[in-house]
């Protein structure tokens, strides 16, 4: 693989597969994008909380009139997703019901070698993160 590697000093470093923070830069890739329905709401930490809450509220009682919406939260946003779902329920005076599911999402990190010419293959790491999917719906009764 390193046929052109001229500097002998570097070879031992090439062989080390373990991640060394000096050697690599970490670049996180976006989580996998899935097809999205109209009543799917992905919660993030950048948008204002109130705005996201209002958006969900609008989906439930607006002209769209969805019977159920799905609130998804990943990682840090799990808290906020739960928060939003509970707030929705509280505002509806018990008309709404919640059904929560948890899952695990595989995320990909790229490790870019600091010295791209000499290092071995750039590493790709996968790690897992938790996610929550809350179904907020009007019971059929």
């Amino acid at each position: 693989m390193l046929a052109h590697c001229t500097d002998d000093r570097k070879t031992p470093e090439c062989s080390t597969k373990s991640m060394d923070p000096v050697e690599y830069t970490l670049r996180k890739r976006l989580p996998r994008k899935l097809p999205k329905r109209r009543n799917d709401v992905y919660i993030n930490m950048k948008t204002d909380f109130k705005a996201q809450l209002a958006r969900c509220q609008k989906l439930l009682d607006g002209g769209a009139g969805h019977k159920e919406i799905c609130i998804h939260g990943l990682g840090l946003a799990i808290n906020r997703a739960i928060n939003i779902a509970l707030q929705l329920q509280a505002f509806s005076q018990g008309a709404l019901q919640l059904a929560a599911n948890t899952s695990t999402v595989e995320l990909v990190d790229d490790l870019e070698p600091e010295d791209p010419d000499e290092a071995g293959e750039p590493l790709t790491r996968t790690r897992n993160n938790s996610a929550i999917h809350i179904k907020v719906f009007y019971p059929n009764a």
Binding site: H4, T25, R29, D110, P122
Partner: protein
């Protein structure tokens, strides 16, 4: 007779010949020399005899012509007879003059001048039939004459050709070739020219933006749909040679500091496309040339030679080519094979890129061929497509080395490159392209087409199968940004025109296909990218490319076949010549910064030449939006990447761009009436149309030096600095842009405010040394005269525009910001336009003493005398102001000091510079650019706009490295990276946050 009448008569008689006044003194000797007084008597009698009342009326009205002084009294007896000949002789002169008067037209010399006014008509000058017949001939002659005078012989000839003749294919091609003699057309030119504002740039005709409104829609396409661009104007240089030799040669052009080079492992294997920054040989970090994309051909079992494509912007191609020749020692020009040589033919004979493929099928149309021969043009050059704007047709395109085995080929315009941007570009591609089908047929038969021969090879077939499988897998990937950056997939596809939808459709994700895809394989693809062998494609081979280009099925034939289909609208069968080798290259999205990760990723589609339109229309039919140069600028701006050549002020191309931009802006400015122009002097904006980067870096260096040596030997030092700065400005150390990734990363961390949320250094990042004076000084010493490329986000209102100033906030400003985060910011006191003042005063003085036209000169001389004394003092004043300006509290007094200095210098310079003085602009020798205003200038914006992604003003620009470090050191930790921005046309500063992208 009243005066008026007299005048009237005079006017009437003006054009009458003078001999109408028939003086008697002449008459007697000439006319009636023989007759004596008797002759006179006859003439008298005639009057009464002929027209009966004539004589009487003449006498009654007092119309006496040459008779008053005659010796004959009026009541003389009339003669008994007259001699006709005598009489006629005597009248001859009168008749002659009368005829003359009639034939001479009055007023203008137009024919219809002869007509009375009420008979003249407006259109007579164009349509002679409107004239009375007797005048027609004359008018015709004059009309012809005027036509001849106005037009040249040549133009007239083309005019005679009817539109039908002009639109005939061959003639149209000639016309097209003539029109792209200077600026070459891309293959999609005609498509673009119908829809876009075209620009003549870099030797090409390029679409800048569509004529319809689609700015926002194009942004939306980039972020959630698909935007298509024709990037074929980028130039491709091909290098052949043994890997070690190429590597050692190319390593001189790049530096590892700036990121991956040609030797990056993944790129060398051909699996990924790389981006790098090229410098002149062994000159890093000085003399950069510009960015380049490069692609290695995957290693081949048969040959040890490697093949490398380098894609660069057309403005740096020639430079790079000469540099490559130097590092590879390739000076031997290889003349192209004679069958293809276009050297003898003039440039007009070079067929255009879109046209050529049509031309080369001429043998099938014997009639057409004959016509071209009849034109006297040789049909040979039709074979070669030379649609390259960056070189003349005479220059060679290939160079070989005498010492080593490296060969350089210039492949500009040989390969078409389309760029698809946006998450849906994936869906568009999978929908448009279809991997070549029925590979098993006619293996035995021999064919001139490349694909059947290719099919015979078992290995290549298995490779094709593998590639097709990967391409199927791509359908399961929903977004372009999920793939590893820069991965490459080679493919052979069917002619996309065969599967062209009847109507324009919108590509969407195919959920069904996505579910069919094997999950395990898809995961592998997103993790590892396309396996290395799949990057191999026949597009790398010159022979295959030529074969494919020359055997393209014409649009016309395609339509004919469609017409003859049994079931209208059904799919055409695949012909053997409709397989095209292509290359798909993934383009990474936004990689730097935290927000909008992966924004603007997409695919590049590489095609053999001639096939441009065959792929373009099917892509457009899949509902992509097409963007021009404007959108590529916005794309890189949103991706936080510097755009070439706009944001490379240290490259020759960037310098040229800046000069052009300055001229353009200045001309635009001058077009306004002086009273309606923005007075940039009053706004304290020294250079609204350009950025004096060199001055900025030097001044900041001085500021910091002064700051460091505060106590010691101030006056003496200052003298030294001043004298030094006088000579220092020349080229000793031209400014550069900091591109070392390590340093940039350090700066990026330093320029972030250390609030609770951001304090956490992300794992995997380098532990950076803390920001302190020592580390800053070390950095400064290492990188002198450096600029740093920064992104600036306005915190509240405000929209930074081109050449907006980035300024250092004072301590009060920061306090104000802390107190009220939404405060609008400080205001610049209005500057005084001393020049206007001076000019006015002078003009007044000149008015007061108009008898001395030389006063201006007199004024000039004392000024010149003054200059000697003030030239030593003025820069000193400047220097003082620079020194003091580092203490923010004193900044207002500084600006005054600067102004006074400016005034003195401007007063002296005015006399010589007022000729090119443009009202509202500073005359040429600028005062200190950094400390001219109340806030010290740190840098300027090169690209500023309302960002549709963040919803407020965002700008990209450069700041001085020295200045940046100086500013960061003086700011409290939680407010690091706060700057002020001020537009050149405004006095209002706005708060903004500065980010160093790394």
């Amino acid at each position: 007779m009243s005066g008026a009448k007299d005048r009237m008569r005079h006017k009437k008689m003006r054009n009458q010949p003078s001999n109408m006044t028939y003086s008697s003194s002449q008459e007697f000797p000439n006319g009636e020399g023989s007759g004596g007084s008797a002759g006179q008597g006859y003439s008298r009698s005639q009057h009464t005899k002929g027209p009966s009342g004539y004589g009487q009326s003449q006498q009654a009205s007092g119309w006496v012509r040459g008779r008053q002084d005659g010796p004959v009294p009026r009541d003389e007896v009339l003669p008994k007879y007259i001699t006709a000949s005598m009489f006629a002789k005597a009248r001859a002169a009168e008749v002659n003059s009368m005829l003359k008067a009639v034939s001479k037209t009055t007023g203008s010399s137009h024919v219809f001048g002869a007509l009375p006014k009420h008979m003249r008509r407006r259109a007579m000058s164009h349509n002679t039939k409107r004239l009375p017949r007797r005048l027609r001939e004359l008018a015709d002659r004059m009309l012809e004459k005027s036509h001849h005078a106005g037009q040249k012989e040549k133009k007239e000839q083309s005019k005679t050709k009817s539109r039908r003749a002009r639109r005939r294919h061959g003639n149209l091609l000639l016309e097209f070739n003539r029109r792209q003699r200077k600026n070459k057309w891309l293959e999609t030119h005609i498509w673009h020219a119908k829809r876009f504002h075209m620009l003549k740039k870099w030797g090409y005709c390029l679409g800048e933006r569509p004529t319809y409104k689609c700015y926002r829609a194009s942004y939306r396409a980039m972020s959630s749909g698909c935007l298509l661009q024709d990037m074929s104007y980028y130039c491709c240089l091909e290098l052949w040679g043994p890997e070690e030799q190429l590597m050692s040669a190319l390593s001189r052009l790049t530096s590892k500091d700036t990121g991956p080079t040609f030797a990056a492992v993944l790129c060398v294997s051909g699996q990924r496309e790389g981006n790098t920054l090229l410098y002149k040989a062994d000159q890093y970090p000085h003399q950069p040339m510009g960015p380049a994309q490069f692609l290695w051909r995957p290693r081949n079992a048969e040959s040890s030679l490697r093949q490398l494509w380098i894609w660069v912007h057309p403005t740096i191609k020639q430079e790079l080519l000469s540099e490559l020749q130097v590092v590879c020692q390739c000076f031997e020009a290889v003349s192209p094979p004679p069958s293809e040589t276009p050297v003898e033919a003039g440039p007009s004979d070079q067929p255009s890129a879109p046209a050529s493929s049509d031309l080369k099928s001429e043998p099938q149309h014997p009639g057409k061929k004959r016509k071209r021969e009849g034109d006297g043009k040789e049909d040979k050059p039709a074979k070669k497509i030379l649609g390259d704007g960056t070189r003349s047709p005479m220059t060679p395109v290939s160079w070989r080395s005498a010492e080593n085995d490296i060969v350089i080929n210039d492949l500009s315009m040989e390969i078409v490159r389309y760029r698809l941007i946006g998450p849906l570009s994936h869906a568009v591609l999978t929908e448009t392209l279809l991997p070549a089908t029925n590979t098993e047929i006619d293996i035995e038969s021999t064919s001139s087409f490349w694909w059947p021969q290719h099919c015979k090879n078992k290995d290549s077939m298995s490779l094709h199968k593998q590639q097709a499988d990967v391409f199927q897998l791509l359908k399961g990937v929903n977004s372009t940004s999920e793939l590893p950056a820069g991965c490459v997939l080679g493919l052979t596809v069917d002619d996309p025109r065969l599967t062209l939808p009847k109507k324009r459709v919108t590509a969407a994700l195919d959920l069904q296909a996505a579910q069919d895809v094997d999950e395990e394989q898809r995961r592998d693809l997103t993790l590892r990218g396309v396996p290395a062998p799949c990057a191999q494609t026949a597009l790398w081979d010159q022979d295959v490319r030529d074969n494919v280009t020359n055997n393209r099925v014409l649009e016309q034939e395609m339509n004919k076949m469609k017409r003859e289909l049994l079931v209208p609208g059904s799919r055409l069968p695949v012909f053997p010549q409709s397989r095209v080798p292509i290359l798909l290259v993934h383009q990474a999205g936004k990689q730097q910064g935290e927000e909008r990760r992966g924004w603007g990723s997409g695919w590049d589609l590489l095609l053999p030449k001639g096939w441009g339109m065959a792929f373009w229309v099917p892509l457009v039919y899949r509902g992509v939006r097409v963007g021009g140069l404007q959108m590529s600028l916005k794309h890189s701006q949103n991706k936080c990447l510097p755009h070439f050549p706009h944001e490379f002020p240290d490259c020759p191309a960037g310098v040229r761009f800046q000069e052009e931009q300055e001229v353009e802006l200045l001309n635009k400015f001058k077009r306004r009436p002086p009273a309606k122009r923005t007075n940039y002097i009053k706004h304290g904006c020294l250079a609204p149309f350009r950025c004096p980067w060199q001055r900025l870096t030097e001044e900041w260096e001085k500021i910091v030096k002064q700051d460091g040596e505060e106590g010691k030997l101030q006056s003496a030092e200052m003298e030294g600095v001043i004298s030094q700065s006088g000579e220092d400005t020349p080229p000793t150390s031209a400014f550069t842009v900091l591109r070392s990734r390590k340093v940039l990363r350090q700066l990026s961390v330093w320029s972030k405010p250390s609030s609770a949320r951001n304090s956490r250094v992300p794992r995997g990042c380098l532990p950076t040394p803390l920001l302190n004076t020592a580390s800053a000084m070390e950095l400064q010493a290492q990188w002198r005269h450096c600029l740093v490329w920064v992104r600036v986000c306005v915190l509240g209102k405000g929209l930074p525009t081109l050449h907006t100033m980035l300024c250092v906030p004072t301590a009060e400003d920061l306090q104000q910001l802390r107190k009220d985060p939404r405060s609008i910011g400080p205001k610049e006191p209005r500057h005084k336009d001393h020049l206007q003042h001076l000019l006015k005063r002078r003009s007044k003085r000149r008015k007061a003493s108009p008898q001395f036209p030389a006063s201006e000169k007199d004024e000039g001389t004392p000024a010149a005398v003054n200059k000697d004394s003030s030239s030593s003092s003025a820069p000193k004043d400047n220097q003082d102001s620079v020194v003091t300006s580092t203490h923010p509290n004193l900044s207002t007094s500084i600006s005054k000091g600067a102004e006074s200095a400016v005034e003195s210098s401007s007063a002296t310079d005015l006399s010589d510079s007022c000729k090119e003085y443009v009202r509202g602009l500073w005359p040429e020798p600028l005062p200190s650019v950094s400390s001219h205003c109340s806030r010290v200038t740190l840098g300027w914006v090169t690209q500023g706009d309302f960002s549709l992604a963040t919803g407020n003003g965002e700008a990209l620009g450069f700041v001085s490295l020295t200045g940046l470090l100086h500013m960061l050191l003086s700011q409290p930790a939680d407010q690091r990276g706060s700057v002020l921005v001020r537009n050149p046309t405004s006095l209002q500063y706005r708060y903004a946050r500065l980010h160093v992208e790394a």
